[in-house]
Structure formats: C-alpha cells, structure tokens
Amino acid sequence: MGIFKKKAASEFDKPRDAGALKIMKEGNTVTRLSFLVFGLGNILNKQVVRGLIFLALEVLYFIFLFTFGIGAIGDFITLGTVEQGQVYNEALGIYEYSTGDNSMLCLLYGVITFVLTAGVIFLSCMSAKSAYCTQIRRQKGQEIPTFMDDIRSLKEENLHAFLLTFPIIGIIVFTIVPLIFMILIAFTSYDHSHQPPGNLFSWVGLENFASMLSSSSSLAATFWPVLVWTLIWAVTATVSCYILGLLLALLINRKGTRAKGFWRFMFVLSVAVPQFVTLLTMRTIFNANGPVNVLLRELGIIGVTESVPFFTDSLYAKITIICINIWIGVPYTMLSTTGILQNIPADLYEAAKIDGANAATIFRKITLPYMVFVMTPNLITSFTGNINNFNVIFLLSGGGPDSLEYYYAGKTDLLVTWLYKLTITQKDYNLGAVIGILVFVILATLSLLTYHRTGSYKDEGAFQ
C-alpha cells in the first residue's frame, strides 16, 4: 500500500498536473498565448487536430457571447425592466397584453451564460496545459503524441476523463445549473405577489434570510420548531433502520439459517412494491376508520366509536411515522448490506475461528468495523436522505396535523415538505429557496465534520 502512495505522489509532478500559475511562470510565449488563443501551442507543434478542436470550441463560445450572452448578462443584472402591460387596441376595441420582460428567464439565461463562461475558462487552462506538455516534451526531445495517441490515451492514463465526461455533463445540466438558479432566487423577491410573466421581481439581498431567522416573525416561529423535529426525525430514522437492517441481514446470512433466498424475498417484497403504494396503504391502514382501528375496536381495546389518532395527534403522528419508516427502511438496509457482508474476506473469519474467537467477538472485531468502514458514506447519505425525506412525510401525514401557530406548516412537516408547500402551494419561491439553503448549511456542517473523521475517507485502502 505504501508503494501506491509514493507512486501517486510522483504522478503529480508530471507536466499534465501543472497548475495555471506554474504554466504562466514556466511556459514560453506560445504556451502563454494558448490561454487566449486556444490550441495555439498544439497547432504550431504538429498536433493540428487537437489544436483545431480547441480553437473551434473557442470560436463557438464567442459567437454565442456576442449574439446572446452579453444581452443575457445585462438582463441578469436588472432582472428585466419592462413590465407586462395592457395596451388598448382601438381597431379591435379591446385591451391587449404587451409582452414585458420575464424576470425568471432573465435569471435563468444569465446563469447559463455564467456556467458556459466558467466552462470556457476551464478550457483555456486545458489549452495552456496541453501546450505546456508539448513544450516540455519538445525540450526533453521526446516524441510528440499524434491525435491517434491522444485517442488511445483515453483507455489508459486519461481513462478518468473519458469515463467522467458524460456523467459530469449530466450533473452540470440537471443538478448544478438548476441549483445555482434556485440559490439566486433566495436573494430575490420572487414570491406569490411577484409572479412572472405578469410581474417583475428584483434583487433584495439578505432580506429573506433575515425574516426567516429573526426572532419576532411568524416565519421564524415556524422555522425553529420544524428544524428541531427534522433533526429528531433524521437521527431516529437513520439509526433505527441501519441497526435493525444490519441485524436482519446477519440473521439471514448466518450459517444455520435455511432457505436464505426465501427469507430475503419475504422482506424484499415490500421493496418491490413501489414506495408510494406502501405509503398510501399504510395511511389507509392507520386511518381513523382504517383496519388497525377496526381491529382494535373488535378486540375491545378501544370503544366502538373511538379511534386511535395515529395521524391527527402530533405525538402519535410522529411515533407512527417513525415506526412505518422502520418498516420501509429495514429491507433496504438488508438489501444493501447483504452484498457487502458477502464481500468480507472469508479468510478473516477463518483466522478468527482458528484463534478461538466466538460469534460476538467476530461481530465486534471484524463485521462491525468492516461494515462501518464501507458504509459510513452510505450512512451519511441516508442521514441526508432522511432530512430530505419528502415521500414518507408527505404521503403519510401530509405534514399534518395542521397548526395555527405555523406559517403554512403542520406539526410533522419536515423542512423539505414545508419547502414544497411554500413553493408549490404558496408560490413563495424565494422563501422555499431560503429553506433549501438553510437545509444545505445544516447538512454540510454536520456531514463534512463527520465524513472527514471516518476511516473510509482518510484511508481508503485499509481493507484492500
């Protein structure tokens, strides 16, 4: 393992890992010019195809910038100036709508332009780096790779670039751009009374954050209690599902258990049924007139007309939801841990047995450390997933029971379901975005702290 580390360190000294500053310092004029004229260093050094691809991309970007980009950035700053208005058409004798600026589109196009610009800056560094590599090769008198060599290198030293390109494009278009857009919304007045295309909205700075966090407003009176419940929910849900699921997987996987496939199937059946079906069924089952209450009535535990307020009392609702979540989550954990349990090197167990360790010691000293090592990132993801667990809350209780003290939220609402209500029902997009950002801040602090402390981050090779 030590060998790998040394190797990795020496790889970073190669010219292809040089930073932009180093290139500026050590590159010759052509290399430096490659920051501005993409592919220059390549074209002058017989790598014509590579150079021309760089150049073509630059030309495309500038065409985009001059036909569209500059205007988009201008609109982004003002968020539109012309409001949609009514103009009296005398010929027809009616009022007609004149199209105004759409603040939302101004914002979106601005973001897209910025992202493309960032891409071009990245490309500029790539171009300079490519020129720099060629320059170094020339100085050392090495052979200069042809275009065919470049393509071949995608299978070897540039495999990461080849494999990552498409996933990253997907991530940028469907995650990063929308996210930047929504983050910016938090700093605007895009609420129910400023809806494009009819109305314009504008930049308001930190106003939304102030009203969310300040102690006096009804927003803050909703935010803090909802936050506390969200955290309680996330911790309980993650820990209960993980431990019970791991125990279940061990129970099924132990040597003495017969018909492993059958048991696994019994539990995975509930995974196979789409989640919203099980959730809606659960809601029906625990309904005031649902089967559970009917059963309790027939058994005489509660009166004939009484019903247990599974979703209508705030404490009952919270407990019911956590229990139902265990029902849903345990098979998932079982499913995901089974694969990893089977991957624990069998010789570890054999060695432990020869040394005379009993089942409890083996679990404590081998299984648990191994599982925690492999699953920590997964645990963090599932904790994050639970803080953002929209489906369970929304489909089971819908956030209810409703509360009059809250601003459009119920007693079991998580921050995300509140976010949903604010954006979809209330159309207060800016408030929704503020909550999204606050959720992010909470999660980021919590998980960066824990993740950096775990074994699987510090020492990825520990079990190799």
Partner: protein
C-alpha cells in the same frame, strides 16, 4: 452442543417468521382489497364481503371516465410508458454510476478529492428544490413540445444527476483487491480492459443493487413526472396515473382498481428481483481472493 445449536437455529427461524408476517401483512391487505367486490373506499370491516376479478379487467381494458370530463383510465398504456422510461433511465444511470465509482475508486488524478467533496455537497441540497429550474431548462431546450420528447426529458431527469450517487458502488470497488488489477497490468491490459473485463464481472452484487435502485425511480416518482407531464394523460407514468385515481373526486369510484393497479405494477419489479437474486447468493469473495 448440537442441542444448543438446534435451539438457536429454531429461535432464529421463528423470529424471522414473525418478522416476515409483519412485513408481508400490509402487502397482503393490498392484494385482498384489489379483489374486493364492493366498490367505495373505507369499510368498517377488514375481510371483503365478496371477491371479483372485475377490478383487474376494468383496469386492463381501460375505463372511460365515470365523471364528466374527467381522466379516463388507460392503465396498459401508462404501464408501457413507465416501463420504457425505466429501462432507458436505468441503463443510463447504471452506466453513469459505474463509471464514476470506478474512477473514484481506482484511478488517481488531481481533481479526484475535489470531485468527491463537490458530489457530497450537491447531494445535500433538497432534490426537488431545483425542480422548477429543471422544468424551465427542459422547456428552453425544446424538450417539452411533444409527448415523446417529454418522455425523453423524464429519462434525462431520472438519470442526469445519477453520477452523484456513486458512494455505494465505490465502497464496493474499494473492497476488491488491487492485486488483481496489478496482475492484469503486468499481462498488458489497459486500465479500460481492467474495468470492463475484471472489475465489472467481479461486481455483480453491486451492479444488481445499482440497477434495482435505478429501475425503481420512475415507478415511484410522482413529483417530477407530474411537473413534466402536466395534463398529458396519454403519456402519464404509472405513479401519476394511480395517484389520479386516488384524488378526491375519483377515490369513491376507483379505490379498488387502484389496489389492482398496485398489484400489477409490483409484479415486474418482483420478477426482476427474483432474476437478480442469485447474484446475491454467491458472494464475490471466492473469486476475488488475491
């Protein structure tokens, strides 16, 4: 000693049996209600008074709306819509996930740690916070013009960000011994060959896991599908279709059909799981001993 083992084994099996009952009972209730002869929603009893296959028949043949101007039920079509979307997004998403996890696990390059940190940071934002923006981006790309294009955009939405969910598979790749890779390099294999010919075949359990999770997405997602499809009933996926059946004005008419639909969509997913079950039974440890 033998006696003790027998008692432990029996206790484990009894425990498993009790737990299985708890886990299967609600599903049993779904099946039971789907055969219920009496329409309407809630009843004051659990066991149905009569059984019928009509719920299924109506569902498969399609029902014209029982309310003036309401949505008619076209279950077969919804089923196919979802199935096609699920297949394509599963392939795309699994490809993304495997690529990213292999790169993160095996290859070393400068942007690796930053990428992993960014991926984790992005995963912390609530997923549908960006929904409205995604909708307008798709609209801007002209992908919401016709029903087929809407289906394409759903595939993209379900698989687009999939590359971020690489943790599970990366954790798995990390446990495969590196000495196998080394041996392949010595034999003259490129890194690409190692990925395709060695790592992938050794990773059946995690590939199955990735495929199953990706395949589930389109069947259970309601919000994105609803936002993108709008009122285009013909192109609805199962989830929105079934959901529509539970809406206030339909629930009294379609309650039992809804459960019949639930049973029908659970079948393909269960079959898929049975097919992939054997990947779990054989651990890879035997094959990967260094």
């Amino acid at each position: 000693m033998k006696m003790k083992r027998f008692i432990t084994n029996s206790a484990c099996h009894i425990l498993l049996a009790i737990l299985s009952v708890i886990w299967v009972l609600p599903i049993f209730y779904v099946v039971l209600t789907s055969f219920r002869a009496e329409g309407g929603s809630y009843k004051t009893y659990i066991w149905p008074k009569g059984f019928t296959l009509d719920n299924y028949k109506e569902l498969i043949q399609g029902v014209n709306s029982k309310i003036q101007g309401g949505t008619s039920i076209d279950f077969t079509r919804w089923f196919m819509n979802t199935f096609i979307i699920a297949i394509f997004s599963t392939l795309l998403a699994a490809f993304f996930v495997l690529c990213v996890s292999y790169v993160m696990s095996r290859l070393r390059f400068k942007m690796r740690k930053p990428f992993m940190n960014i991926a984790m940071i992005l995963g912390m934002f609530p997923g549908f916070m960006s929904m409205i923006a995604v909708y307008y981006i798709l609209k801007g790309l002209g992908l919401l013009e016709t029903g087929t294009l809407k289906q394409l955009s759903l595939v993209l939405v379900y698989s687009g960000g999939a590359g971020l969910g690489f943790y599970m598979a990366k954790g798995f790749f990390d446990t495969i011994s590196r000495s196998i890779d080394e041996a392949a390099y010595i034999d003259g294999a490129t890194k690409w060959d190692t990925f395709i010919r060695i790592t992938i075949p050794l990773s059946k359990p995690i590939i199955t896991y990735t495929l199953i999770t990706a395949f589930m997405g389109p069947w259970v997602d309601y919000i994105f599908a609803k936002v993108i499809m709008g009122n285009d009933t013909k192109y609805y996926t199962i989830a929105i279709g079934l959901w529509t059946m539970l809406e206030q004005e339909y629930v009294e008419y379609y309650y039992t059909q809804f459960y019949a639909g639930c049973v029908l969509i659970s079948i393909p997913i269960s079959i898929l799981f049975l097919l992939t079950q054997k990947c779990y039974v054989e651990g890879v440890t035997g094959a990967v001993k260094g």
